[in-house]
């Protein structure tokens, strides 16, 4: 059913192998380091939450006061071993100054582990409970085969977001993503509590996650459907936000170090390390990750540079595998960013979308709508979005981000979203079996475009395998953007692991990965 392109399957396998080599090499690097946000994540997963009087999140207060290379678990474990306090109690005491971490002497490894591991198991159990709850919901309500309708809310105010999300869900949306306020990804902490003052989006906080999760569960129960919730890991707090998502039962999370490097100028070492742990969490919590390849062709040409998308997708797949994410959770990204004035652009787009589909046949691909070539012509905008929906359906994509007629103007109004849902539902129903009905001409424009992209991606992967991924990012291969290995934000949070460094969750997650 999904073989319409006469792809050179052997070349696909060879390309995959190259990507694997690239990822493996990177993994060796990753294994040697931890970061401040990873340590804060460990705190969070051990149950630490809240802020101190100055409003600084307690996980930050802790990690700011330790020798990071030893790991937060070593400190917490030592104190627990000595005092029997709960992690949250410890954090509060650190917060109000009654414990000074700098004065703590660490106990023996074995004692640390004994103190921490049961608590870590508890944290992991909370995540598993959420995962099971999701599964129960999906069993009760049933799930959808066809494209999942994904819309964003972005009012800046979580309460207003809930109103928007509720309306969208009742109209038919399957996934609600809460866009973050501009700038959050550059913040080296996660804000706390319910927030009402974001710009172009709403802060990702655990309380906001909780409020939205609750609203969507309510709407879903009314509707007899499970409404998925999505937020964003990428940024300076990848694993922390992944942990918050795990704790509040998010279902989908954008998670891509390359996005942070290229589009937020985050230091590449920092974020590639963070990505690994955050993906482990996502994997364990049953979250579908979404990668950000769509962003490349928002900036560079969608026909010329199509192969860079495939290249990145293949690497992202390997990074996901290494973090224990199964295929069914790999929401690999791509986008409809075809210049509308290109002759046969629609055919090229069909080729690319089908290519992603055939290279990742079991992954729930995330397909992004036109943004770059959207203009203030809202009528034409509806049609650009329609063409995108049609490609979605012909190539049978799983997660369909709905395009907004006002894309070039503002974050969506409630009515914009409703129009988008109506359009998508019309097309998906009116074309229900189209993917089965329509074939592509052998050796036609579509086939040739797809096979050319594959070939070019293979070549690029070979090159990256030789020079390494960091070097590749330094010379500017993706989206035409160069980033120096020591540039960008967050490098100061990267720390070589000490000899006795210990992350209690790695083992738990790895066990799950290996199906133990």
């Amino acid at each position: 059913m999904h073989n319409k392109l006469d792809l050179d399957r052997e070349l696909v396998s060879k390309a995959r192998l190259k990507a694997q080599n690239i990822a493996n090499e990177m993994q060796e690097f990753i294994n040697g380091y931890t970061t401040t946000t990873i340590e804060r994540t460990i705190c969070r997963l051990l149950g630490i939450d809240g802020v101190n009087k100055k409003g600084i999140p307690l996980p930050n207060v802790i990690v700011d006061n330790i020798d990071v290379k030893k790991g937060a678990a070593a400190y917490l474990g030592s104190i627990i071993h000595k005092t029997g306090l709960e992690p949250q109690e410890i954090a509060e005491k650190v917060g109000n100054g009654s414990i000074n971490l700098r004065n703590i002497s660490l106990v023996e490894s074995k004692d640390i582990q004994n103190a921490i591991l049961p608590l870590a198991e508890l944290g992991a159990a909370r995540i598993r409970t959420n995962r099971e709850e999701r599964e129960t919901y999906l069993k009760t309500h049933g799930d959808k085969e066809g494209p999942l309708l994904y819309v964003i809310v972005a009012t800046g105010n979580i309460y207003e977001d809930i109103i928007q999300a509720d309306s969208a869900a009742r109209k038919g949306a399957d996934i609600i993503a809460v866009i973050r306020s501009t700038g959050q990804s550059l913040m080296d902490y996660v804000p706390y509590g319910a927030t009402t003052q974001g710009f172009g989006g709403t802060y990702a906080t655990q309380e906001n996650f909780r409020l939205m999760r609750k609203a969507l569960d309510e709407a879903g129960n009314d509707l007899g459907r499970y409404i998925r919730l999505c937020n964003y890991c990428s940024g300076l707090c990848m694993p922390e936000i992944a942990a918050m998502g795990a704790l509040e039962r998010l279902d989908v999370m954008l998670n891509d170090a390359l996005y942070g490097i290229l589009f937020r100028d985050i230091n590449m070492q920092r974020t590639i390390i963070d990505q690994h742990f955050s993906r482990m969490i996502n994997g364990y919590s049953g979250v579908i990750i979404n990668t950000g390849e769509d962003n490349y062709i928002k900036t560079v040409d969608a026909v010329d540079q199509a192969f860079t998308v495939l290249t990145s997708q293949l690497m992202n797949e390997q990074f996901a595998i290494l973090a224990g994410i199964p295929e069914e959770q790999m929401g690999i990204g791509h986008a409809f960013e075809m210049n509308p004035t290109v002759k046969n652009g629609f055919l090229y787009e069909l080729a690319q979308a089908q290519l992603s589909r055939e290279v990742f046949p079991n992954a729930p691909l995330k397909y992004m709508p036109p943004t770059r070539y959207m203009t203030g012509d809202v009528f034409m905008g509806c049609v650009q979005n329609a063409l995108f929906n049609i490609v979605t359906k012909i190539t049978d994509q799983k997660i369909c981000l709905l395009g907004m007629l006002t894309e070039a103007i503002h974050t969506p109004f409630m009515s914009d979203r409703s129009i988008a849902i109506d359009i998508a539902q019309y097309i998906f129903n009116n074309m229900e079996n189209i993917s089965d009905e329509i074939l592509f001409k052998p050796d036609g424009i579509i086939n040739r475009q797809a096979n050319t992209s594959l070939k070019k991606a293979y070549d690029l992967l070979s090159k990256i395998e030789q020079q390494g991924l960091f070097k590749t990012l330094e010379v500017g291969t993706f989206a035409g953007i160069r980033r120096p290995i020591d540039g960008g934000k967050g490098l100061d949070g990267v720390v070589k692991k000490g000899e006795l460094y210990f992350n209690p969750f790695i083992g738990i997650f790895l066990k799950a990965k290996e199906g133990v």
């Binding site: 009012t155 309460y159 109103i163 809202v378």
Partner: protein
């Protein structure tokens, strides 16, 4: 549903939901967001931009954002504008009777009502008049098959319904109605360009008055662009627009006949 707006009063918004001052809504209560499109008869120059802004300011838009300004390849320019509106409406002042959801009876109830109150069949004569040949509207109301699963008036036991079809001249319509002793006249008008429906509908009232039977019939018009207000203005007893079904009309006219009898 029905809970969010109430909540909005309590969650610490700067602007609160206030039913005496309802404003359009984009994504934040009282943001007043609105979209407008129009063409101006002038070439696509900076002057046109200024003219467009002046115009939407007069409409009450503030911070107008001209998101599209497109030449129509002639001396005309098309605009799409977003902005926020200064106007608001007090929905607590909207009269209850105007806003009440009109509750139609079912076919059975209507038949029952007629049997009990009038002891005879009610005669309904309908047509699309003038040069208008759109029959689907009047058919939706009158034909057996009806519309959206609602049977038409011909199906009602206690009605004697005559559908004269389309392109019926007002003169013929009046004559036929007299012949058939109509209690109710139904007129459909779809073509409204250059107000031809107003001409047609007005002319019919004049003819009925000339024949001295205007007061003896319930006179109803309908069509996609017919509103209650327009109908009243033109001297009709009622007017029905989009998505009307037979029950709506029948409920109206049987009650109206009954009311008149009482007087």
């Amino acid at each position: 549903m029905g809970e969010h707006l109430k909540k909005m009063k309590n969650i610490g918004y700067k602007d609160k939901y206030d039913p005496t001052k309802i404003k359009p809504y984009g994504d934040t209560i009282n943001d007043g967001k609105i979209q407008v499109s129009f063409t101006l008869p002038m070439q696509n120059t900076p002057k046109a931009t200024i003219a467009a802004k002046q115009l939407v300011l007069k409409m009450g838009l503030r911070e107008p954002n001209i998101v599209l300004q497109k030449s129509l390849e002639s001396e005309f320019t098309f605009f799409v504008v977003y902005g926020h509106l200064i106007h608001n409406v007090d929905i607590t002042k909207i009269r209850e009777e105007d806003s009440q959801l009109f509750k139609a009876m079912s076919m059975d109830e209507i038949n029952e009502f007629i049997s009990q109150n009038f002891n005879r069949k009610i005669v309904v004569v309908g047509a699309t008049t003038g040069t208008d040949s759109h029959t689907m509207g009047i058919d939706a109301i009158m034909s057996m098959k009806g519309f959206h699963g609602h049977h038409g008036l011909e199906r009602y036991e206690m009605l004697e319904a005559h559908n004269l079809g389309s392109q019926v001249l007002n003169e013929d319509f009046v004559r036929k109605s007299i012949d058939l002793k109509a209690d109710v006249l139904l007129v459909s008008q779809t073509v409204t360009q250059k107000r031809i429906h107003v001409q047609n509908l007005t002319n019919l009232v004049e003819l009925l008055e000339a024949e001295g039977i205007r007061d003896k019939v319930i006179l109803i018009c309908g069509g996609a662009r017919i509103t209650k207000e327009l109908a009243k203005e033109l001297g009709y007893d009622a007017g029905f627009g989009q998505n009307t079904v037979a029950e709506d009309v029948a409920t109206f006219f049987i009650k109206e006949i009954r009311n008149r009898q009482k007087k």
